[in-house]
Every structure is written in structure tokens, then in C-alpha cells.
Symmetry: C2
Subunit: 223 residues, 2 copies
């Protein structure tokens, strides 16, 4: 059984990714981050999801992105905006977040002697974050294969992005066939302590539209 | 004045890099890490060095590389080996360390609106760590220029590695001409609480040989 590190936020996408990695037969090590995000209910979701899927280990690492700031997800003085379909990158973008998360995954993968990292980036129904695009992931993988002792020893690391070219509706359909219970996932940027979603942020609207387009009822708990 | 983030461990190389960045006229933001390294005296050095050079800001960030393990620098059960000139990567290698450090620097640079990151990697008198080689740095820079909102806006980030092709003796000579006081730097992998060096680890021996080859007296405080 090959080992894989799965970046698990506790949201819809990363939970689907975990279900895909399991279905492909990987031994899964889930990695979540307490990075100073305003809402911590996604981490409670991540814990439940990791248990439900029987991962070998689930780690929640603290990284101080709130000290760095620059995002409405970590800075209490910046409000999370309502859904907006313009082409600008919204202030919910967190500087270098996926680069930092993938780098911790890379370190853990090396210690585990794993050659696979799974991340739920998506470049269709998304907020335009640069670190979700295929060209970024490709460049990260190239760098990762020069970065480690593993890579010098000829063990190639692969960044798996099974959702990258799927619509939100396709992601949901795939997850449902793999038995994902989306009612326990937390996608909202500003969910309350009970994990209830605001229904108006980018993440909420993209998720709700996904359920509508997939033709299945939306199990999200709204405020 | 252009801003730059300088990765500052408190050792000989990164201190020289800081002196070079200052001499080039950059406004310097120094970034150090409490990453679970066994010896913390290098962070005390970093603090003094940052003050001496009058950096605009010095941050010491906590990152839990000790939780990830896999290195004699962070794992109390692994002994730091004596200097060894074989071609193997020693167990003082820390999985994905430079990738993680550069990624935090990238995030901070973006928030500061800085387009320069300085790192004191060196691929001549070094321990063979993969994440010190030119091809790794080049790949990191390519990735970084796809990762951020800054990059999408056409602001190119540059990873400066002014020491990469210098011998340790050349690094020391350059630092001395720029006024570096090497007596306050801590290079040793297992310095004691007073910052005194063991004299026998890779880092100590490469440093001592550097002073010898440079023909200057070694100001290091040994145990």
C-alpha cells in the first residue's frame, strides 16, 4: 500500500480528495492547519472526516499565517466579502498559503517515505487564487523534486490534483459515489462555532451552486 | 529603497548575506525560525545581528519541524555526527527546511510588497543538502513567480543567493570588508547555551577551515 499525505481543510473539495485517495488504495496521512483562520469549525470537521475515513494519522499543525496577515481569512480588521463574480483575486486570498501547506506536506512525506501528496485545488469553480492553477502545481512539483534527500535518491514525489479540471457539480457527484457525507464538511469562510455557513461568501455560493447543478439537495447547515 | 526579506539563522553565511543586502541598499526585513532546533543560541545571535545591522523589522517565527522530525538537528534521539567528508547527505539534513523557510519569506514579502528574498545557501563548502543547490533555487523562483497575487500582477520575485558559488573563505573575506563581526555569529549545530561551538560538527569544521583558508584568526568561541 503506497502512502500519501492528504491536505485536508475540512471542506468539500479536500474531503472529496481524501475519498478519492482512499478509493485508489493509498494509505492516507491527513494534514490540516490551524493557520489563524477566523473560523476553526473547519478543523472540527477535518477531525471528524479523518476519523470517518480511517486515516492512518491526522495531524493539525499550527502555522502563524495570522502573524503575516494580508488576508480577510486571518485579519480580524478585514471583512470577508460577499460573493463577487468579477475577475479580481479577492481579499480572501492568503499570501503563499498553498506553497506553505504543500511544503509542510513535502517534509512530512519525506519522513514517512511517501511519494504522493494530494491537494484539492480546482481551477474552474474557484476564486481565482493563483496557487490553485495547473501551471503553479506543475512548477511546485518540479521544485519539490529538487528539494529533498528523497529526490536525490531518485524517488519522485507526485502532487496529485484530482479535482483541478472538474466543476463543483462534478466534484460533488464524484464524492457522492465514493460515500462522502457533505453534511459534515465546512466550506464557509466565516462559519460560526456550530459550523453553520453564512451562505453569502464566495466559498458558500460556489458550493451551493455546485449542489444545484449536480441536482442533489444541499446538506449544508446555514446560519 | 527596495525592500528585501533576509533569511537570518544567526550563522556565518546568513549574516554575511544580510551585510551584502544592506550594502546593496535594500531596506532589510530579517526572518528567523524557531523550528525546534536543539540549540537556540543561534536565535540569540540572530537577534543581536539584526539589531546591529539596523534592520527595519526582525521576526522570529515558530514552525514545528520538530513535530515532523527526521533530522539530528531536531530529534533528541539522533546524535549530531562529527565532520565527515563522504558524499552522503548527513542526518543533519532537515526535510524540506529551505522550502518551508522560503515559503514563509514569500508570504511575508508579498504582504510587505517586497520583490526580493535573500538566502545564504552555498553549494561549495557545504554538507550536500539538496535544497542548497542552484537548480533547486532556480526551480523555487519559477514556482514562486506563479504562486502569488503579486506574480499575477506582474511583480517578479527574485531569490538572491549571493554566496552560492563562493568558498567559505571567500564568504568570510567579503563579510569582513562589509564590517561583519563573526564573533557574534553562531554556526555550530550543537552550540551550548552560551553560544559556544562544539568544534567537531560539519558546520564547525567548514567554518574553521574557512577562517584558516582566508588567513584570518577564528573569532569563534569554542567549548
Amino acid at each position: 500500500m503506497s502512502k500519501a499525505v492528504i491536505l485536508l481543510s475540512g471542506g468539500l473539495d479536500s474531503t472529496t480528495v481524501l475519498s478519492i485517495a482512499k478509493s485508489k488504495g493509498f494509505e492516507c496521512y491527513a494534514l490540516s492547519f490551524d493557520y489563524g483562520q477566523k473560523q476553526l469549525s473547519e478543523l472540527i470537521s477535518a477531525k471528524i472526516i479523518a476519523e470517518n475515513f480511517g486515516v492512518t494519522e491526522h495531524r493539525i499543525m499550527r502555522v502563524c499565517l495570522d502573524d503575516i496577515g494580508g488576508s480577510a481569512l486571518t485579519d480580524p480588521t478585514l471583512e470577508v466579502p460577499k460573493f463577487n463574480q468579477n475577475n479580481e483575486i479577492p481579499i480572501t486570498y492568503v499570501p503563499a498559503r498553498n506553497t506553505i501547506f504543500l511544503s509542510f506536506a513535502l517534509a512530512w512525506a519525506e519522513v514517512l517515505d511517501a511519494q504522493s501528496i494530494f491537494i484539492g485545488v480546482n481551477a474552474l469553480d474557484y476564486s481565482g487564487y493563483p496557487d490553485c492553477r495547473p501551471e503553479y502545481i506543475k512548477a511546485y512539483e518540479t521544485m519539490a523534486n529538487l528539494a529533498t534527500k528523497q529526490s536525490v535518491e531518485g524517488k519522485k514525489i507526485q502532487i496529485h490534483t484530482p479535482l483541478i479540471n472538474l466543476t463543483k457539480a462534478e466534484i460533488i457527484k464524484q464524492g457522492l459515489t465514493l460515500g462522502v457525507d457533505y453534511s459534515i464538511t465546512t466550506t464557509c469562510y466565516q462559519a460560526n462555532d456550530r459550523g453553520e455557513a453564512c451562505g453569502i461568501c464566495d466559498a458558500c455560493v460556489l458550493r451551493r451552486q455546485g449542489f444545484e447543478k449536480a441536482g442533489v439537495s444541499d446538506p449544508t447547515h446555514y446560519q
